[in-house]
Symmetry: C2
Subunit: 329 residues, 2 copies
């Protein structure tokens, strides 16, 4: 699948910016550089960084609405740092030992310093947004709070077997909040009218859903070699993903009871994971999930045409959205 | 020992303010209310809250410099929330099961939600400071970053056996940053001249040292029934406290080697803890520590007379500082 042009455009600026924010001396900062993939001696662009989706959305939006990329950069960096602080802590919470093919922070430096490193990154993130102004910082904090609330819902063991509605509520917070925030921060820097910011937030909301649902589908039916996480790992950890939410509402009674029983267990064997996937397959979760991705992508496009982006800009953003909804990694 | 008048003055405002910030629905907020001692059905003033020292310092300073308590309140709450977020995460990092006589957050809700709850509290804290303005938020973030750096130094196992200088550097960050910040936030709200803010930061720096050293002394020679933490618990966890720093530099060679050997162990028996205390006693760590408290308190007073507080205000602040330096709980 073609790598969307937007994802390459700001990559150097963002990586150089991150290197600048995280350059301080001290052990904790070296942990943070390790986490984002800014290891000494590596080209900051050819590294283990992810897609840098969120800062890209901030900078692209700002530019499309007539703002300056340079002015938007601290907000973009702040958002990327919030995302990364949450990854450091997520890995502790989930006990994940690798991320993007490398040992996670807690796995390499211990849980205590991983907690500390994440805490530091949260503060550094907001300090960056504050350089842009009070509005940017408020918007970033509101999104951070929502994201953490979403993580809280996700971790809540009491509701392990969720339905589709609670699932959507959870991902709107956990994933959607930061994607929406990206469009909002871009709007704020460009001093766009409130209506534009609101419409873009809706683009972000729909895109966030398409993105997360795609992620969940890849977790079950994706190629582990491409996604970087072993197939079935979401099931092994009994994560509240869309496939399980759909299967729980659509599977036949016997399968459903079996699924509930398996999701109540502390650990699952490989055979049990295969059984979960079988139930998901029979319930039509994959097709239903793919249909949802298409619908949310469609809605995102409907909102996108309402914002004053250039024709090329709309096209490029459309290409990015399609990539995120259809990606296989 | 007499409870200083200042510590009672703002207690209701601060507790009501905290209840307001943490009133939201959702599981995570109930965890946060539990942590600060705002349990349902309890009088928010007669609760398990601590001294509320930091917000008290913010409000008192603002008032003394001609600011409004109401205007300073969000900054005071933000600072108290930063302190509390750090306690939630500290307890996870140290594996402490109780705090102020109650189960710690991780002990009651699990490590994953404790990390999450602390993360949320950090964001809520900065959002409060931001209500006061950009300067207040920047100052709070800078202090938070320093505090986390200090916690990083404290957790750094490589430097388990520290000397007095690295110890002071560590506590200036870990404890001093937030105490300094309290005086700074009060100055910012009152729009005090930069010189006043700087002098007050020095008061905070000295007070922070006296406070933390006193804490360390209580950890070894205090009455566990009063301090709320079992005697010797700092030693059991081989924390970098002043008594061990002094003993390492002042004890005779054989004792010192023994101390280093014990601090290299993973766990200590009760007998080994007694041996550590014996070495500390022989090295004169208690007297030296008490002398340091007196000196830092003296310096704090010297800076205090330079700031434009009222005569009564200076007297009350002096009383509070003395209490903090001499307290037995």
């Amino acid at each position: 699948m073609r790598w969307p042009t937007i994802l390459a455009r700001y990559r150097r600026q963002v990586t150089v910016g991150l290197a600048d924010v995280l350059h301080s001396e001290g052990f904790l900062y070296s942990i943070l550089r390790y986490h984002v993939g800014l290891e000494d001696g590596q080209d900051p662009v050819n590294n283990h960084m992810g897609k840098l989706l969120r800062p890209t959305l901030v900078l692209f939006t700002a530019e499309q609405l007539g703002g300056e990329v340079g002015q938007a950069l601290p907000a973009a960096l702040g958002l990327e740092l919030i995302h990364n602080f949450s990854l450091i802590h997520d890995d502790v919470q989930d006990g994940d030992k690798t991320r993007r093919g490398r040992p996670t922070v807690w796995n390499r430096y211990g849980v205590a310093q991983a907690i500390n490193a994440g805490d530091l990154m949260q503060s550094l993130a907001v300090a960056q947004a504050l350089r842009v102004g009070q509005d940017a910082a408020k918007t970033l904090l509101a999104a951070t709070i929502e994201m953490i609330e979403g993580q809280g819902l996700d971790l809540d063991a009491a509701g392990q077997a969720v339905g589709v509605e609670p699932y959507l509520e959870m991902i709107d917070k956990k994933t959607g909040a930061l994607i929406r925030c990206a469009f909002q921060l871009g709007s704020i820097v460009a001093a766009a009218p409130a209506g534009v910011e609101e419409t873009l937030a809706k683009v972000g909301q729909e895109l966030g859903r398409a993105f997360q649902i795609r992620d969940d589908l890849l977790g079950v039916w994706g190629d582990g070699a491409l996604t970087g996480k072993p197939q079935g790992s979401d099931i092994r950890r009994r994560k509240k993903t869309l496939p399980v939410a759909i299967a729980l509402s659509s599977a036949r009674a016997a399968d459903r009871a079996d699924l509930e029983r398996l999701y109540d267990k502390k650990t699952l064997t490989d055979k049990e994971i295969d059984r979960v996937i079988e139930i998901m397959n029979k319930s039509g979760a994959r097709q239903a999930g793919e249909q949802m991705v298409i619908e949310h992508l469609k809605r995102a496009r409907e909102y996108l045409v309402q914002v004053p982006f250039s024709t090329t800009g709309r096209q490029e953003m459309g290409e990015l959205m399609q990539y995120l909804a259809e990606r296989d990694q």
